[in-house]
Subunit: 431 residues, 2 copies
C-alpha cells in the first residue's frame, strides 16, 4: 500500500476501502468523507492488524457513535463475563469497545476481543503497564510505557487513550489551584503519581514523537486522554481542565503533522449550562479534532442512575459538537458493571446519540422516528417492537399487562387518545 | 379571609401563610415571592379544602418541581396499588400528584388521596365525566362537564387540567393541516370527539367564565391543557400546537383578570434542538405564566426507556424556562406503570429537575453536589448513600460487589484514581 494511515491516504487523494464503507453507512459522498479525514475532522479507527473490523467514522457531520467500556479489575477477574459484555455491545450496535482491564495479564483477553470484534477496539496502555511488567509504578521506565503502546498496537488495537496532556506544567497548575475532586482519570492519576514519585516529565509527552511513530505504523488512532477531566460539577471548566486542553490542542497538530489520526477526550461531570461552551472550546483549541466525551454527568448526586445523568449531558454535548459518547452504566462510582448494567448503559447512550443526531439533522436519522410513530398511530405493535431501540423490553411490558382491546394499552384502555381520534377521523372521511 | 385566591392576596399586598412557607423552602424573601404571584409568574396550587397540603410554589426563579401521574384505568382497577404509588411519590419528594383515574367511580379514591396528600393534587375532570355520569361521551352536556369541575373543586383538588384551548378554530386547523400522530392528549381527544359528535364549541372554552368562578371560589389553579401536544417529533412546533398556544395565552389573561392562578401545559415529543425555542414561545405567548411540560421526549424510538428520553428533554426544557416537569415512566406508551416503573420515573424526573436547577443557579442547589463530591473524595460511603437521590440502589450495588479495599470499588480496585491522588497529595503535604 502506498499509505500508512487513513489520514495519509486522504491527504494523497486516495479513497480507501474503509472510507468507502464508512461513507456508505453515513449516506455521504466518499470524497466528502475523505476531505474531512484529510483535515482531521473525522477519524476512522482501524488498526491494520484488526481484520475482523467493520470500520466506523467518528467526527464532523457523521452519526454520533458510542463506546462501551469493559475489562477485568483486581476484584473481579472474570474474563468470560467481559467477553459476554463485548458480544452484547455488538448485538446492541455499539461502534466501539474499550478494554480497560487493569489487573494481571490481559494479553490473551485483548487478543480474543480483537479477534471477534467488528466494533473498533480501544485500550488505555498505561493501565496495563503494572500487570504486564509486574512492577511497582515508580519502577516502570518511560521506555517500558512506550513498550506497552507498541505491544497493544501490534495486537491490533484501533485506538488508544494516551494521557500526554498532563505535563509537569499542567500538574503544577493543579497543585497550585486545587480542586474538589482532584484527578479522577485513572490513567491521569497514575501518570501524575509517576511524575511526582520519579520527578520525570510525562513519558507520553516527552516521547510523543515515538508514540506517533508507533501509531503511524499500525494506523492506531490516538485518543488524547484528559487527565484533568472534572470529577464533580464544581471542578468543571476550571483552569486545570482548560490548561490541559490547550496542551492537547498542540498535540493534535503534532499528530496531524505525522498523518496520525487523533481525537480528544473530554468531560466528565459538568453542569448542563456549561456544556455548549465546552464543546466550542474543544473544537477551537483542538482545531476541529473529533471530541470523545465521558458523560458529561450533569449532577454528582445520582449514583445508581449515572446512565441517566450522562444521557442528559451526552445528548446536549453531541448536539453541540461532541462526536463520540462513552457510555456510562448505572454501576458508575459503585462497582464494575454487571451484564444488565451494561445493557442499560448502552441503551441510554444510544438514546442520547440518536436524540442529538435528530437535533443535528444527520441524514436518515428522523426516518426511524417517523416509522415508529406511524406504527404507533396504526397500533402495529409488532412493528413497534421491531423498531424499538431495545426490542425486548417493550414486548415484555405489554405482555405482562395485556389490555382488553388490541388498539389500546392498560394505561388508557378505551380512553386512548390515538384510538379515539383515529375513529373520529375515519368517520369524517367516510362522511 | 379578605381574599379568595393566593393571586388575589398577592395583589392586595397580603403575604399569606402559604407564601411564607413556600418562600422559606425556596430561600427567598416572602415579598419577592408575593410579587411574582401577583404578576402570575408563580403559582401556589392550594385548594382551600385541602388541609393536608404542604404547599409548593411553581414558577419563575423557583426550584423545578415534579408531578407524578397515577390512577386506575378500565384494564387495571387496583386502587390500593395507586395509593401505594402516591405514598412512594411523597416518600421520594414529588411535589405534586395527578390522579388520572379514567374508569368507573373514582370519587372515594380521590378523597382518600386528598386526605393523605401533603403534595399538591391535580386532576383532569374530563376523564371522570363518563364514569361519573355513566353516559356515552356525546350524551354528556356542557353543564355536566362543568359539574365535574365543581365536584373536584369541592373535593379539594389543587390544580385541574382544563383543555380549553382546543376550540373549533384549533380543531379546524388540525383537520386541515393534518399531523402524523394526530391528537395524543387523552382529554384533548375526548373534547375533539365531543365537538365533532355534537357540533358544539369546546364547553370549557365556551363557559370559561364559569370555570373561573369555580376555581376562584376554592382557589383551584388552572393548568391549561394542550390538546395539540405533539405525539411524535414530526408533529412538534407545528401550526396546531402553536395555534392552541396562542389561545392558551388569551385564556391566561382571562384567568388573571379574575385572580385565578394559572399555568400552561406543554410538549410532548420534541427534537432536542426545538426545546429552547418552545420554552421562549410559551413564556412570550402566555405572558410569563408557569410552564408545565410532559417530557419533552426527545425521540419516539425508545419505548421502555421513555423515562430517559424525557429526562433529557425535561432537563433542557427546565434549563430554558420550564417550571414543572411531569414524570414519565418506562411504561409510557406500553401499559399502566407498576410501582417499580413509578420509582424509576420519579428518580429520572428528579435528576432532570435538579440538573436544570444547577444550570439555572437556583439558590442552594449546588450544595448538594458539593457535599456528595466531598464524600466521594473522602470515601465516606455512608454519607454518599445518605445524600444519594435514591439512597437504596447505590448501597445495594456496593453490597452486591464488595471490593477488597474500602477506599476503592470493584471497578478500579487499587488503581482507583481518587485513592491514588489522595495518597500522593497526602505525601506532598507531609513532605
Amino acid at each position: 500500500m502506498s499509505y500508512k494511515t487513513q489520514m495519509e491516504a486522504a491527504r494523497l487523494g486516495i479513497v480507501t476501502p474503509q472510507m468507502r464503507r464508512v461513507a456508505e453507512k453515513e449516506r455521504m459522498e466518499a470524497d466528502t468523507l475523505r476531505q474531512r479525514l484529510a483535515a482531521g475532522k473525522v477519524v476512522i479507527p482501524c488498526n491494520r492488524q484488526h481484520t475482523a473490523l467493520d470500520p466506523h467514522g467518528i467526527g464532523d457531520g457523521l452519526r454520533t457513535k458510542i463506546n462501551v467500556n469493559l475489562g477485568v479489575s483486581g476484584d473481579r477477574l472474570d474474563f468470560d463475563l467481559e467477553l459476554a459484555k463485548a458480544r452484547l455491545a455488538m448485538e446492541l450496535g455499539a461502534e466501539a469497545i474499550m478494554d480497560l482491564s487493569c489487573f494481571g495479564h490481559t494479553e490473551t483477553f485483548r487478543r480474543q476481543l480483537i479477534d471477534i470484534a467488528t466494533a473498533a477496539v480501544g485500550t488505555v496502555p498505561v493501565y496495563d503497564a503494572i500487570g504486564y511488567y509486574q512492577k511497582e509504578l515508580p519502577e516502570i521506565t518511560a521506555e517500558e510505557f512506550l513498550g506497552i503502546v507498541r505491544k497493544h498496537a501490534a495486537d491490533g488495537v484501533d485506538f488508544m487513550t494516551i494521557h500526554a496532556g498532563i505535563t509537569r506544567e499542567t500538574a503544577a497548575r493543579f497543585k497550585k489551584t486545587g480542586r474538589l475532586t482532584n484527578i479522577v482519570s485513572r490513567g491521569g492519576a497514575l501518570l501524575f503519581a509517576w511524575m511526582e514519585l520519579t520527578g520525570n516529565e510525562n513519558p507520553f509527552y516527552e516521547h510523543f514523537d515515538e508514540v506517533l511513530r508507533i501509531c503511524a505504523k499500525y494506523d492506531v488512532t490516538i485518543s488524547l486522554g484528559d487527565a484533568c477531566r472534572p470529577g464533580s460539577i464544581e471542578d468543571a471548566t476550571d483552569a486545570c481542565q482548560i490548561q490541559e486542553l490547550i496542551v492537547l490542542g498542540e498535540l493534535v497538530k503534532r499528530a496531524w503533522s505525522q498523518n496520525v489520526q487523533v481525537m480528544v477526550e473530554g468531560p466528565g461531570h459538568m453542569a448542563l449550562n456549561e456544556i455548549a461552551a465546552n464543546m466550542l472550546l474543544e473544537k477551537k483549541l483542538c482545531h476541529g479534532a473529533p471530541f470523545y466525551v465521558l458523560g458529561p454527568l450533569v449532577t454528582d448526586v445520582a449514583p445508581g442512575y449515572d446512565h441517566i445523568t450522562s444521557a442528559i449531558g451526552g445528548a446536549v454535548a453531541a448536539m453541540h459538537g461532541a462526536d463520540f459518547l462513552c457510555y456510562v452504566t448505572p454501576a458508575e462510582h459503585l462497582r464494575l458493571p454487571e451484564l444488565e448494567d451494561v445493557r442499560e448503559g448502552i441503551i441510554a447512550a444510544k438514546i442520547a446519540a440518536h436524540a442529538a443526531d435528530i437535533a443535528k439533522n444527520i441524514p436518515g436519522t428522523r426516518e426511524w422516528d417517523y416509522q415508529m410513530s406511524t406504527a404507533r398511530r396504526n397500533f402495529d405493535w409488532e412493528q413497534m417492537f421491531r423498531l424499538a431501540i431495545d426490542p425486548v423490553k417493550p414486548r415484555q411490558y405489554r405482555t405482562a399487562s395485556p389490555p382488553k382491546e388490541e388498539d389500546s394499552c392498560t394505561m388508557c384502555g378505551k380512553l386512548c387518545a390515538v384510538r379515539t381520534v383515529n375513529k373520529i377521523l375515519a368517520d369524517l372521511e367516510t362522511a
